[in-house]
């Protein structure tokens, strides 16, 4: 008996995809490379949303961790003059995990709309704090993230170095996500969606499963936020705004929840559709995005990942 998943042949496909993405900067303009890096970094946050979605929990407040990760490197660079990514990225991940652990103790008791709304409220509290405490956060101006270094070196082409940094960490996040989904906690999180009574009668705790998943989810979302901060070079309260959280849920639905790759595919599609919609139809770009999602949901309810797996399955 073996694991009945669709992921058996994926490592080769994934390595091929990463190889293609790795050589793209040689052929594409800087702004498209930037867009891909931005999409991959935000994909980590979407993966955080997906980990919870598999348990039937919708977080409408994941911009909280996105912003915490981003502001962690923002403070480090702006207030302490430390732009070192090898310091900022682990710090942002750890702080996000700790905040997720603290807030998870509260959130793990809620399900459905209550979980969604409470997570939204928590992210909006952070948004308000970032807006109101100007001396602390820079208010609506935000903070600039200057002096990016990697292993002590200031790169001649920071954009390119950041691109490969994001790519490498995306691979790491996908690996961690895949291990999580295949682990007892990952399966138990799915079990939460189907039957909490049985979980309790197996001697486990549905709340603890949610808490554990929430911490993992918060940590990788914080990492995604930190990467975005380095890429953009600036952090602002909009990162914590509810629209950001909505975007992550939007992309999670767009990409699908069937694989750890799905959030990144969804995120790349989202960023490109959004940017080209803005370019060609600046006053109705939201309409374009909405129609795009409606079409995907109508014809492919399992998201873009479902479309890819269907296309892969057809030749057989």
């Amino acid at each position: 008996m073996s694991e009945p998943t669709i992921h058996r042949s994926l490592p080769l496909a994934a390595i091929s995809a990463f190889a293609v993405i790795a050589i793209l900067p040689l052929f594409l303009s800087d702004w498209i490379s930037f867009l891909i890096a931005l999409a991959l970094a935000k994909g980590a946050v979407v993966l955080g949303v997906v980990l919870l979605l598999r348990g039937g929990l919708i977080s409408f407040g994941h911009a909280l961790y996105f912003a915490i990760g981003a502001y962690a490197v923002g403070f480090l660079a702006n207030r302490f003059g430390i732009g070192e990514a090898l310091v900022g990225l682990p710090l942002a991940t750890i702080i996000s995990a700790l905040v997720a652990a603290a807030l998870g103790l509260l959130l793990m008791r809620f399900r459905g709309i209550y979980f969604a709304m409470l997570s939204l409220a928590l992210s909006m509290i952070l948004y308000t704090v970032l807006i109101k405490f100007y001396d602390f956060s820079g208010g609506t101006d935000g903070l600039s993230v200057r002096g990016f270094t990697l292993a002590g070196a200031t790169p001649a082409r920071p954009g390119l170095v950041q691109y490969y940094l994001v790519l490498g960490l995306t691979a790491a996040v996908i690996y961690v996500g895949a291990r999580f989904l295949a682990s007892p906690l990952g399966y138990l999180m799915q079990a939460v969606r189907y039957n909490e009574i049985r979980i309790e009668y197996l001697g486990a705790s549905a709340n603890h499963a949610i808490l554990g998943s929430y911490v993992v989810s918060g940590a990788i979302s914080g990492l995604g936020g930190a990467l975005v901060a380095y890429l953009i070079g600036h952090v602002s309260p909009e990162l914590a705004f509810w629209v950001s959280s909505g975007d992550f849920v939007f992309v999670a639905v767009l990409g699908g929840t069937g694989s750890v790759f799905a959030p990144f595919i969804g995120s790349i599609a989202f960023e490109f559709v959004k940017n080209y919609a803005l370019k060609f139809s600046p006053s109705t770009w939201q309409l374009t995005l909405g129609v795009f999602l409606l079409v995907v949901i109508y014809f492919q309810p399992q998201g873009l990942w479902g479309l890819l797996t269907r296309l892969r399955a057809k030749p057989q």
Partner: protein, 245 residues
């Protein structure tokens, strides 16, 4: 091993379990019979922490477990299966078994080791063979027939290697051909392991074949308790439970 002491449970004006006292010793196999609504399932729910008694106390191996959560009761060595199977319907049969194996081995917080570990899969395979589910291992639970779900529900509780196993109508929905084969495999194994077994059952064939002691319920009260043949022969049991006379 289990002492139910003057336990009552009321739902509004209805006393579903009314001042019930019951002692079950280690290794005993007790069958509970009664009509629908007589309080059998409510008693199981009270013992396993799903419901809190209105009054009375429940003692398990000298520990007062009254009001403890199902998780804590399970941790003490009690497991149960349900009248309506409680399963992860969107997952496969094998997934259900592996989740139970992982949680029983204390790995429910493990987010790194695959749940499909070879030793766990081997153990799951043996269990699926024991319960006749091997050829349905990859099936999604929602696609299983009612009987298959029932058997899986019992299998999940057996994985926990409990000291006490409570089963609520373990063979209802299982085909006449399969119910004896499952019980013929399961009950001697429980007996060998000196597992105290309490099961609720409507099927008198099952009751006579596997129970050593029968407890008859009517109107939330125990109306008879003793050897199966004696209990089933009593006029008040035949009248209340079997609807005779």
């Amino acid at each position: 091993m289990i002492d139910v002491q003057n336990v009552s449970r009321a739902f509004g004006m209805l006393r579903a379990v009314d001042d019930v006292s019951l002692s079950v010793g280690e290794g005993e196999t007790v069958g509970i019979i009664g009509t629908n609504g007589s309080g059998k399932t409510t008693l199981l729910n009270l013992i396993t922490g799903y419901l809190q008694p209105t009054s009375g106390r429940i003692v398990f191996q000298g520990t007062d477990i009254t009001g403890l959560s199902p998780r804590r009761v399970t941790a003490l060595g009690m497991a149960r299966s349900f009248q309506i199977p409680q399963l992860y319907t969107g997952l496969t049969v094998l997934d259900n078994i592996l989740i139970a194996i992982a949680t029983h081995s204390g790995r429910s917080a493990d987010f790194w080791t695959p749940i499909y570990r070879s030793d766990c899969v081997t153990k799951a395979d043996e269990l699926l063979a024991l319960f006749g589910l091997r050829d349905r291992a990859a099936a999604t639970v929602s696609d299983l027939p009612e009987g298959g779900r029932k058997v899986l529900d019992v299998a999940l509780s057996v994985i926990l290697e409990p000291k006490v196993l409570l089963m609520d109508e373990p063979t209802s929905g299982v085909s006449a051909r399969d119910k004896f084969s499952v019980m013929d495999t399961l009950m001697p194994a429980l007996k060998r392991g000196r597992v105290t077994t309490i099961f609720v059952e409507h099927d008198l064939d099952i009751m006579e074949r596997y129970a050593e002691r029968a407890v008859a319920f009517d109107g939330g009260k125990i109306i008879a308790d003793g050897p199966v043949a004696d209990v089933l022969a009593r006029p008040e049991v035949r009248r209340a439970v079997l609807g005779e006379g």
